[in-house]
Symmetry: C2
Subunit: 124 residues, 2 copies
DNA sequence: CGCATTGTTTGACAGTCATCAAACCGAATC
DNA sequence: GATTCGGTTTGATGACTGTCAAACAATGCG
């Protein structure tokens, strides 16, 4: 079984504006949260990205586009394994470069989510 | 002397994607850093935003546009005082909504800046 | 009042972006 | 070898963005 990595910027070359732009799109932020959620607690065998499209209700080519943006921004690493792509967050690398950023953004996203959920519940 | 505030979203209405998008533009991030730097340690009398254009070498209408984006994203507050606009960071509000975000981003920007400066020095 | 100052608004322009659909491609499976 | 499966690439489309320039608006000053 062939296994290789798709190109990604080296840690030193990750640019803040690219990372922020990558996080700025709501769909992409959801993708990141999914990657983070699914990647954690696993044995390293991530979920194939085909799932993301189904979960978010977007076309597979759109998912592919977003994953490319994330990877080229330095947010994710993509391993090619057979015909699947296993995507992981580059947490450690990002933390070296921009300490705390990923945590803060993911927490903020989670909180915004909780708030939206609470409002929806209150409205029903 | 007339003094009033321009419209801005209430703290609860600040959206993460808007804030991240606001920070994602390099020029705008520089503006934010200038606002943060100039706003601190002053008696409340901020620098009129005309200065930002000169410092960054961009047209005054472009500055106006960026300040509008920042204000509408909830990142800044703008007081109209005479014919000047005094702009401040809404640090406290942002920290309530997205704890740590502003600090992390500004630190990351400062670090990226220092790195770029060091590289430039090494290259010379 | 007339004029200068400060900033906003509008219009134009070029570039980018998110999205889908369809074609394509490499790897696994039959 | 043909087919299927997971994903990428290309093309098209509509929306948005950053920038400047010029016109406009509002305020303070002589």
């Amino acid at each position: 079984m062939v296994e290789r990595d798709l190109f990604q910027p080296s840690t030193a070359d990750i640019r803040l504006s690219d990372v922020l732009a990558a996080f700025a799109d709501p769909v992409r932020l959801e993708v990141v949260r999914l990657i983070d959620g699914l990647g954690a607690g696993e044995d390293g065998d991530g979920t194939p990205c085909s799932q993301y499209g189904d979960m978010l209700g977007i076309h597979k080519s759109t998912v592919s586009h977003h994953l490319k943006v994330l990877r080229e921004a330095g947010v994710t690493r993509t391993r090619v394994q057979g015909r699947n792509r296993l995507v992981q967050l580059r947490r450690a690398d990002l933390d070296v470069r921009f300490p705390g950023l990923v945590d803060v953004v993911l927490n903020a996203a989670a909180e915004a989510d909780a708030k939206a959920g609470a409002e929806a519940a209150a409205a029903s």
